[in-house]
């Protein structure tokens, strides 16, 4: 029993210590953004690594998710003779939920893990320490531009995902299953609300981008500087990001669409 309590206490304490360190890290990172803004090259380079290099996985996943949505939606909706509303169903699912959530999960796996491994290895090879000794703040120079790049890339990737998904749904629904082209688009146009659906989806993707990038960068910066440490940190990035994204999605959905 005492052992259990000890374990509980220790775990809680390490958890909160880490949260505290993470918060300081985040504040420091946000503080560095001001000094990075006059150097857009640094941010653009990172947006290339984080965003552009994620295009392929986002496009292919978006296409398949949209196609599956078209297929499943058609089977269910046609039972009620409502296959005309397929466009609305595909678009609403993508813009509200699947776009931000699946993109964020893929983003954590593709870009987040890469960030953690990169920062972790920079720490292990003393590059961060070396920068400090050159009087260059590694958080400002290395972390802040990557954070900003993640924050800006996520909503763009989520928008790309939703767009490709809608085209995928169109391909299957209109192209293969014979849903009327006009009603696919017009139902979507009539049913999707800019404020309720699109803006809320974008807010979600910004929140997920914030959290996933923060976790990835912090895990890399906080890693134990060995091969094993970097490997563990990378795993933690993916797992913790996934949990945070899914948990936050529930909370955000309840807040946004609750009433």
């Amino acid at each position: 029993m005492t052992q259990f309590l000890q374990f509980l206490g220790r775990t809680t304490r390490t958890g909160f210590t880490k949260l505290g360190r993470g918060t300081f890290f985040l504040l420091h990172t946000l503080g560095g953004i001001g000094s990075i803004l006059p150097r857009p090259r640094l941010i653009l380079n990172q947006m290339y690594a984080v965003g552009v290099l994620s295009f392929l996985i986002i496009t292919i996943s978006g296409l398949f998710v949209g196609m599956v949505l078209g297929l499943q939606g058609f089977y269910i909706l046609s039972d009620f003779g409502a296959e005309e509303t397929l466009g609305l169903m595909v678009a609403a699912s993508l813009v509200r939920e699947l776009g931000p959530v699946v993109t964020a999960l893929l983003f954590a796996g593709r870009a987040g893990s890469a960030l953690t491994a990169e920062i972790g290895l920079m720490k292990a090879t003393e590059q961060l320490s070396g920068m400090e000794m050159m009087a260059v703040d590694p958080i400002k120079r290395i972390i802040s531009p990557r954070f900003l790049a993640g924050l800006l890339s996520m909503p763009l990737l989520a928008a790309l995902f939703s767009m490709i998904g809608i085209l995928g749904g169109h391909m299957v629904g209109v192209g293969l299953l014979g849903v009327d082209e006009g009603s696919y688009w017009s139902q979507m146009q009539a049913g999707i609300d800019f404020q309720d659906d699109i803006v809320n989806g974008v807010i979600k993707s910004i929140v997920f981008g914030f959290v996933a990038t923060w976790i990835a960068l912090f895990e890399g910066y906080d890693t134990i500087p060995t091969s094993e440490g970097v490997s563990r940190a990378t795993t933690r990035t993916v797992v913790n990001s996934a949990f945070s994204i899914l948990g936050l999605d529930f909370i955000l959905t309840a807040l946004m669409f609750g009433d």
Binding site: T125, S129, E132, M133, M134, A135, V136, R141
Partner: protein
């Protein structure tokens, strides 16, 4: 502890410094002086915290007790911006070189100049080429760090360390893992940089001969204490058993060959997988 070097002319002074990691005491009340314009070496076996000492001088770690003064400023009392200003005048050569792996040699050497100065690119080019020429690697400027040998990487890192014309350089194990030729090149380079640029150099090393050949003053550390100090000649003639063992490289002496353990026969006959904690302090003078 008395110091034979006067603190008047020293650039870096370490006073009564104590530092521990967890329960292990790395430094126990040590005092060191590093004279301006001289090459001072800190020697001692691996694991005596020599690198830790450099990090304490550079303000990356905080001591439990005592102070470190660099050019009249107490490193650990400075505010962040003041510390960063001081660090611009301190160069450090890491054992691994710590080159930034995502940029080529040229950009690595240009990095501190671009971060800290607003010099035009043409001026930066001149400076970078001068620094690279000084380490003999001007022709390697387009290579990436992963294409360099260990010795070359260290020389590039040295060019980067002198890019801002610092007042001092700290070398962390500059000779480890070098073949005889690049070792010779490095020894020569450290000596000539020190003399031509009027630097103050601190070398942390366990390579006895190379270090003794170029240093003006040597401190020998063990178990968190200074066990010997003096000019290379004095150190070589030291009567301390410990210093003698270190300088001659004898396998057994005050520092034992074996890591502390329980009795060998008992250990072989028992079935325990883990060794019991040995509380006895080992290898002390």
């Amino acid at each position: 502890m008395d110091n034979s070097v006067s603190s008047q002319n020293s650039l870096v002074s370490v006073h009564n410094l104590s530092f521990s990691r967890g329960n292990k005491k790395i430094f126990d009340d040590i005092s060191l002086e590093f004279e301006r314009g001289k090459i001072t070496a800190i020697m001692g076996p691996s694991g005596t915290g020599k690198t830790t000492l450099l990090k304490l001088i550079g303000g990356q770690l905080f001591p439990d007790q005592g102070s470190v003064t660099v050019d009249g400023q107490n490193v650990h009392r400075l505010r962040r911006s003041e510390l960063y200003n001081l660090r611009k005048r301190m160069g450090m050569l890491f054992q691994s070189g710590a080159l930034l792996t995502d940029m080529n040699v040229y950009d690595n050497v240009a990095f501190p100049l671009r971060e800290h100065t607003h010099l035009p690119e043409s001026m930066i080019r001149t400076l970078v080429l001068m620094k690279l020429q000084a380490v003999g690697l001007r022709g390697a400027r387009d290579l990436m760090p992963n294409e360099l040998s260990g010795g070359m990487a260290r020389r590039i890192a040295l060019a980067r360390a002198i890019a801002l014309d610092p007042m001092m350089i700290m070398y962390d194990e500059p000779f480890t893992g070098q073949d005889p030729i690049s070792m010779g090149a490095l020894v020569h380079l450290i000596k000539s940089l020190n003399n031509t640029l009027g630097l103050t150099s601190i070398i942390v090393s366990h390579d006895v001969h190379e270090t003794a050949a170029i240093s003006d003053y040597i401190y020998v550390l063990s178990e968190g204490k200074v066990v010997g100090q003096g000019t290379p000649k004095e150190i070589q003639q030291s009567e301390s058993e410990w210093v003698q063992q270190f300088m001659t490289g004898a396998a057994d002496g005050p520092v034992h060959f074996h890591y502390p353990a329980t009795d060998y026969v008992d250990d072989l006959l028992s079935s325990k997988k883990r060794s019991g904690r040995v509380s006895k302090r080992y290898g002390q003078l």
